[in-house]
């Protein structure tokens, strides 16, 4: 269960303080799929960052006992001059996986990424596809109660995509997902709850279709 209590977040801008949302209150059930929808700039990614603990709110808090992942496929943490092995090692240490557990995770990523010898070469020599293979593999190597996904779902070639999809679905059998996406098909596939963010307010819909319909209506209303 993830509970948001009076969550308020703002950013200072040259035009004054801009509130992304004020006093957000809602609860997400355990092990469920949650889709965050809204227009660009509505605050979906900000909310995801708050859930990921990468940003802190002005007021209020995110109360949870669950293990929440970093945004799946995050590749910004890679050091170009280090090999994928060293980069995975770093994350293992950060997450407290040592000894046999660490070896096992490194092996898992190596097998998952399927990039052969490149696994021991500096990451700056990788193609973008290879980087994202390693990044995705790393997300899958650790067990979380909630996986956070910001838009990017499809990485790599079709074969890899198929495999990644299968592994991910397997993970989701025992875990929840919080997904930011403009792809309504993904949301219908993975989510049982939809949070619609608009003008600093969030409405929670337990019926996905209902939530998506509300979003469609808004889009229609704002179109000329």
């Amino acid at each position: 269960m993830i509970e948001l209590r009076n969550l308020t977040k703002s950013y200072p801008t040259p035009h004054g303080r801009k509130y992304v949302f004020k006093d957000l209150n809602f609860t997400l059930p355990s092990g469920s799929g949650v889709g965050l929808i809204g227009r660009n700039g509505a605050g979906k990614s900000t909310l995801l960052n708050l859930l990921a603990g990468l940003d802190s709110p002005d007021r209020g808090e995110v109360v949870t006992n669950e293990r929440i992942s970093w945004p799946v496929g995050l590749g910004s943490g890679f050091q170009g001059s280090l090999s994928a092995r060293d980069n995975v090692r770093f994350v293992c240490r950060v997450f407290g996986a040592t000894g046999a557990e660490k070896r096992e995770k490194i092996e898992y990523v190596e097998r998952f990424a399927e990039i052969g010898n490149y696994f021991d070469l500096p990451m700056r020599t990788y193609s973008p596809g290879m980087r994202s293979r390693v990044a995705f593999g790393m997300s899958m190597a650790f067990d979380f109660d909630y996986y956070l996904i910001d838009e990017v779902m499809a990485v790599g070639d079709p074969i890899f995509r198929k495999k990644a999809g299968a592994v991910f679905r397997e993970k989701l059998a025992g875990a929840g997902v919080i997904l930011v996406s403009h792809n309504h098909k993904d949301i219908k596939d993975l989510c049982s709850t939809v949070v619609f963010i608009h003008n600093g307010h969030a409405s929670v819909y337990d019926d996905v279709d209902e939530g998506l319909a509300a979003f469609q209506e808004l889009l229609k209303a704002t179109q000329p």
């Binding site: 950013y11 990921a52 603990g53 990468l54 940003d55 802190s56 929440i68 970093w70 945004p71 995050l74 910004s76 943490g77 890679f78 050091q79 001059s81 280090l82 060293d86 090692r89 770093f90 994350v91 240490r93 950060v94 997450f95 407290g96």
Partner: protein
């Protein structure tokens, strides 16, 4: 299994140190060579200059090489902690995507690394001095360590403050880097301040780091007489003030330093 905050922080700082070691030195010994080479080159240059002016010793029983090293190394520790903390957030920007990793961890890792590295360089120099039959042990070791810790306090205080300042006004970066050399000279690390006219000495004594440099030599040599007016209170109080301001500023801005400028 849930880890305590302390366990997490320990793991993160350790991971950052290993990562930085690998990045800086990697499989190439060249990286390690440069780290050792910089202070050595500095000291060697000064030694050559001194031999040319036939001034092998600075005072009674004080060899120039030792005289330079015992002050230069604490000063380098201060300067490096300062600048490496200043750039710590940008250099590790990508890593803050993992919730366990916070800017303060990156700074702690860098501080620990600088202290450990320069301790090793110091020990290396002392071994060389012992071999050459120079003075290699501090006369007052505890006092010497105390002075070095004040240098470290200065480094951390200045580092925290500059890290915040640079985020707000990026232009400061170049300016601060430029102050490093004049500070080095006016702190009396290379040139003994005693040779200057009294008025200049009076002005230079406003620099708290000069006090620390003098105190480091006083603690190392039994026969060294520091400049008139040198005391510990002045650099210590200014250093602690810097540290206090640095910690407060950084705490208030801990979220803001992460924003892209």
């Amino acid at each position: 299994m849930k880890r305590s905050s302390w366990q997490i922080q320990k793991a993160v700082v350790f991971a950052l140190i290993l990562r930085e070691l690998k990045t800086r030195f990697g499989n190439r010994l060249v990286g390690l060579f440069w780290v050792l080479f910089e202070p050595m080159a500095n000291i060697a240059t000064m030694l050559v200059l001194r031999v040319i002016v036939r001034q092998r010793t600075v005072g009674v029983m004080i060899d120039t090489a030792v005289y330079l090293v015992v002050a230069a190394i604490p000063f380098f520790i201060f300067r490096n902690i300062w600048f490496r903390m200043m750039s710590a957030v940008d250099a590790n920007a990508g890593l803050f995507g993992y919730r366990q990793v916070k800017p303060a961890d990156a700074m702690a890792a860098r501080t620990i690394m600088e202290v450990v590295m320069y301790t090793m360089i110091f020990v290396a120099f002392m071994l060389i001095f012992a071999w050459l039959d120079y003075r290699w042990l501090a006369d007052k070791p505890l006092e010497y360590l105390g002075v070095v810790s004040v240098f470290i306090i200065w480094g951390i205080g200045a580092g925290l403050m500059s890290a915040v300042a640079v985020k707000k006004f990026p232009a400061i970066n170049t300016f601060l880097q430029l102050t490093s050399f004049p500070l080095y000279i006016t702190s009396g690390v290379l040139i003994p301040i005693t040779t200057f006219p009294p008025l200049v000495i009076q002005i230079l004594l406003w620099n708290p780091l000069l006090h620390l440099v003098e105190l480091a030599r006083w603690a190392f040599f039994p026969t060294y007489h520091p400049l008139m007016g040198v005391n510990l209170e002045y650099p210590l109080v200014v250093g602690l003030t810097l540290l206090f301001l640095g910690v407060s500023l950084f705490f208030v801005n801990r979220q803001r330093v992460l924003l892209r400028s």
